[in-house]
């Protein structure tokens, strides 16, 4: 789970592919045990229905859409925050049990639990 293949220059409006909208790479943290990996992704301003997670072979793609940052009648006086959506791509180097994957979003942080497949867990082999 060490490979991130989101384009590295996140400041510019990076068009990942022709048909994809510009996005920024969110901050993320990975913790892991032999049982499961836990990925925490910071997604401030994203509602529960704005997140989509796909696992295609070993490529985990997370897209998150921000809720409209401010109602139209608000007049911006000073802006520092980004309006762009989030995109994070991680290449997994461990087999993950897709059926048991889970994700929760709380306080703008998405916690993704990726249980390691039985076959990929460390095993002890008895000597006969």
């Amino acid at each position: 789970m060490n490979t991130c293949c989101t384009p590295t220059d996140t400041r510019r409006d990076t068009r990942v592919a022709e048909n994809e909208s510009p996005a920024v790479k969110p901050r993320y943290f990975v913790d892991g045990t032999t049982e499961a990996y836990e990925v925490r992704v910071e997604l401030p301003g994203v509602g529960k229905d704005g997140v989509s997670i796909d696992l295609d072979e070993n490529l985990l793609t997370l897209r998150a859409k921000r809720k409209p940052s401010a109602p139209a009648e608000w007049k911006p006086l000073h802006r520092e925050l980004s309006d762009l959506d989030y995109l994070l791509r991680l290449r997994l180097n461990t087999q993950v049990d897709e059926a048991k994957m889970s994700a929760t979003l709380a306080d703008g942080v998405l916690t993704l639990r990726l249980p390691v497949k039985e076959a990929a867990k460390p095993r002890r082999i008895e000597v006969q």
């Binding site: 789970m1 996140t10 910071e42 007049k75």
Partner: protein
């Protein structure tokens, strides 16, 4: 999972930001350009400073900050002498250690804001502070004695 050892040459890695944040030289201008590759949350802000958006509508001013993973109890909003200060302090305990961080941001508030009715709301990691404008600053007549 491979563990990658932290090396200063690897400045663009976002996950190492916390270390750099506490780096004694992080405030130096020559180093600050290295932070270019960091996420927008820190754009235009110095170390420890929260990024903020300011909006207004007919009745209110709005100050918004992104504070992902922060609970209501960890946020402090103060108005002191026309200066609105938002501070966030958080401690995280894990099995093998503890990490903490603190961010703060001060915004000077224009005249004519009703200080006693300021409201703050935390939703999906975004803090919105609403500063209602005063009805009218009524002109005062001073009697000549």
């Amino acid at each position: 999972m491979k563990l990658t050892r932290f090396s200063p040459a690897n400045l663009a890695r976002v996950s190492d930001f916390d270390e750099w944040f506490r780096h004694p030289f992080s405030g130096l201008p020559s180093l600050s350009q290295f932070f270019g590759a960091l996420p927008d949350m820190f754009n235009g802000t110095g170390a420890g400073r929260l990024a903020a958006d300011i909006h207004e509508d007919k009745d209110n001013y709005f100050v918004r900050c992104e504070v992902p993973g922060v609970k209501k109890e960890d946020v402090k909003v103060e108005l002191n002498n026309q200066l609105l200060t938002v501070s966030v302090e958080k401690k995280e305990k894990t099995d093998d250690g503890e990490q903490s961080y603190a961010f703060t941001r001060s915004v000077s508030v224009p005249d004519g804001v009703k200080g006693d009715t300021i409201a703050a709301k935390l939703e999906d990691g975004v803090l919105t502070v609403t500063l209602p404008k005063a009805e009218h600053r009524k002109p005062k007549t001073i009697e000549v004695a």
